[in-house]
Subunit: 459 residues, 2 copies
């Protein structure tokens, strides 16, 4: 083991230090390997101190509900931050040389400030996420924490770029007779960016509850983003022109953020996957969501980013009747663990049962009569599972989460397999979106920025 470690450390140092034409992407792979090694070393070393400080949770889907350290996501998050700081000289190597030759030196500086402000936003998010894990901030406050953390990014965006146009679909611009294919949002562009940074962390936070899923879903999004990035990077080598270069630089920047992030995520996943040895905490959901928001905002491809969050968006829409109180929402909506066969089954919301009127009558409300036809319809199209009493009244409905829905479709499942299944579905959906984005988008928006038809402010 120690020899493998030494070899990988050496490889990563070589990747970082040897100047080739593949820099800075080559360095980012080196930092990714280093990140994996450091997180892998730190987590077993520190996890007991987290329990000692009261940072732990019970694993509800295991026999005996063992106690497991919580908020461990802070370890890869801090590791990532310091790696990205050490990355600076390698990331800006070309710019340093250009700047010494007095070529294009202003651009390099604005890129540097944008990079530093991204790191400031990430670090603020880690700090606020940690505050949340420590002091259980109220829901209505914590929802906005990512917007606060995005302030450094937005201020520097205003200072350095202040580019507030977004592209609109051709049919809309034709309909309203704009006469152009972009619209300047002005001030509202900053609300749009703040919304993106509120959306990403919170949507990861909502799709959670089984071992490994918080980290697993971020790994899938990273892979999808990397495929998209390399599509542009390869495109630049095929069509070597000015427009392709602009897209290349944006996506190279994104790759440099994502590859080290993949390293620390995989390392954390090793400990968080079924059966979990550590829990990641809200800190991780906030931090990882913010990494995506930062990349999408500073690379000006927030709309493409949203496509890869489709499963999270669907989960939010599917959950909303319970989240907004149309249907009663029990405290826990996790799937139900069966100790006998070790599988996860659907969990249910209970309704008043006229055959057993005394059963927990305090907690249980009657099902709204208007919802019954809707429930019956959703049952037919396999979107909900209903349990009826002998009179045919609905006394239970499955909880509205993507996890429960997956169990409805694929049957009771081992926790680890369930997580893998959801990750696979997420990848398939994301990949289809990726193909649609590069085939349909040119028709909808009138043109595409990929390869020879590049436009930096398109995505």
């Amino acid at each position: 083991m120690s020899i493998t470690l030494t070899i990988f450390t050496l490889i990563s140092i070589l990747l970082i230090s040897i100047p080739t034409k593949l820099q800075p992407i080559q360095s980012s792979i080196g930092f990714s390997i280093l990140g994996y090694i450091i997180v892998d070393y730190l987590i077993p070393k520190v996890k007991d101190s987290f329990i000692k400080r009261g940072l732990f949770g019970k694993d509800m889907s295991k026999i005996g509900r063992p106690i497991i350290p919580e908020t461990i996501g802070i370890i890869p998050a801090i590791t990532y931050l310091f790696l990205m700081l050490f990355f600076i000289p390698f990331l800006f190597q070309k710019e340093i040389i250009d700047s010494n030759l007095n070529l294009n030196s202003v651009f390099s500086h604005s890129k540097l400030s944008s990079y530093l402000s991204s790191l400031l936003s990430l670090e603020s998010m880690i700090l606020l996420g940690l505050m949340d894990d420590l002091f259980d901030i109220r829901w209505r406050h914590k929802f906005f924490l990512p917007a606060i953390a995005s302030i450094p990014l937005l201020i520097i965006y205003n200072f350095e770029f202040n580019q507030t146009s977004i592209l609109i679909p051709k049919f809309i611009s034709n309909f309203f007779k704009f006469g152009k294919n972009s619209i300047n949002l002005g001030m509202f562009y900053y609300f749009y960016m703040a919304s993106v940074s509120i959306f990403c962390p919170n949507s990861i936070n909502i799709l959670a509850g089984i071992n490994g899923l918080e980290v697993g879903q971020t790994i899938i999004i990273v892979i999808l983003l990397l495929i998209n990035d390399f599509y542009y990077i390869i495109g630049y080598y095929i069509e070597n022109n000015v427009l392709a270069k602009s897209a290349f630089e944006i996506h190279q920047f994104s790759v440099c953020f994502l590859i080290p992030f993949l390293g620390i995520s995989l390392s954390l996943f090793k400990f968080n996957k079924f059966p979990s040895k550590v829990f990641v905490g809200d800190t991780w959901c906030y931090f990882s969501g913010m990494v995506f928001a930062v990349i999408g905002i500073s690379g000006h491809f927030a709309k493409t980013l949203m496509l890869f969050f489709l499963p999270q968006i669907l989960n939010f829409i599917y959950s909303s009747p319970q989240l907004f109180g149309l249907i009663p929402c029990p405290r826990h909506r996790l799937p139900k663990f069966n100790e006998d066969d070790g599988l996860l089954y659907n969990s249910f919301t209970l309704y008043f049962d006229s055959e057993n009127p005394n059963l927990n009558s305090n907690e249980i409300k009657e099902l709204n009569k208007n919802l019954i036809p809707i429930f019956n319809f959703f049952e037919k199209i396999y979107l909900i599972k209903l349990i009826r009493n002998k009179k045919g009244e609905i006394i239970m409905s499955s909880n509205l989460t993507l996890i429960n829905l997956t169990i409805i479709w694929f049957g009771p499942c081992n926790e680890g397999e369930l997580c893998n299944l959801i990750m696979k579905l997420q990848f398939i959906i994301g990949f289809i979106m990726l193909i649609l984005r590069h085939t349909l988008a040119p028709f909808i928006f009138g043109f595409d920025n990929s390869w020879s038809m590049l436009n930096r402010f398109y995505l």
Copy 2:
């Protein structure tokens, strides 16, 4: 109260937003008032959640040793960070205008990166300080935390300035026949800067133990630094030339960091001063020390900064026989609280007493014979207090801290008065240093950078 609050909030908003010739210093006063108000609002609101999370300490110098929330320094620290982020547009207003006119635009960008990297260093320090308060990092590790936090600053320093010369006294350069008054430290300059950032936080951390002193001493250093800064700023208005302008800009930058810091410090002091309602935690010592290190390093006046740390340096030297184990060091060296008169008395280290040989014989060691003449000499010059048995053997010596020394000189004292006394002594020492720095320095270094004789790389 609510009316006062509204008035002060309005005043601060006016100070920030009205563009006058006094900007950005005028804005910094506005942010300082806002900082005071926010911290004053937040601390009472959140302090109970700190106790709930296990972050509390016992106040040893009070009757009944009450439990008091610990690590509250994180609140002003985070408040400061976000204020400094909102400060960016106001701080760089002139540069934005210049940059639009294409004047001097590169300089503005490198100043911005330096500012952002300072904030990154501060934020890293807060995060690592919080880790220390949460998980009790070992002494030999925590000593180096500030060096890790200073990495963003050092990397950007290398990237943007890479100016590694320091001025040396004339007699040394004459002696070694350098033929010039500065020496290029190269790589070692980065070790020098890292040492400054290790020194400031740790030296504040050591001079602690009575209510209000951690925050009180930082307030005194801020005041001394502000006097020094305004000496240069006023100098620029008297001698309006290029060299004076360069010093003016550095010290204006320093003032913009310090004035908001003063606001949050005063607000924290209100809660931390005798009788303490909150404790500040290592987070505060690290954070406040790092604020000074960042200002000294990026303003290139680390040596002047050290002058204002003289009491902390003396405390360290005075403590070192106990810290390095020459004399036994009891676990607590705080002064001893007397419940009867409510005053603080000297605390002592006990030695083996041949008249009472059985008294705690396990814990107590014999006094090293070689130290006796030194002890006797120090007693004569009032640097130590000794207690002897009837045989004339030394059985107790006062603990070697500046706090104990103050009690030797001025007698037993109420805790609040003792803190005020030490702060006054600190101010007097610092002010003398300030005068010496501006009168003796020109003789030692051959020239001075103040007023008409300015040199940016002197301090």
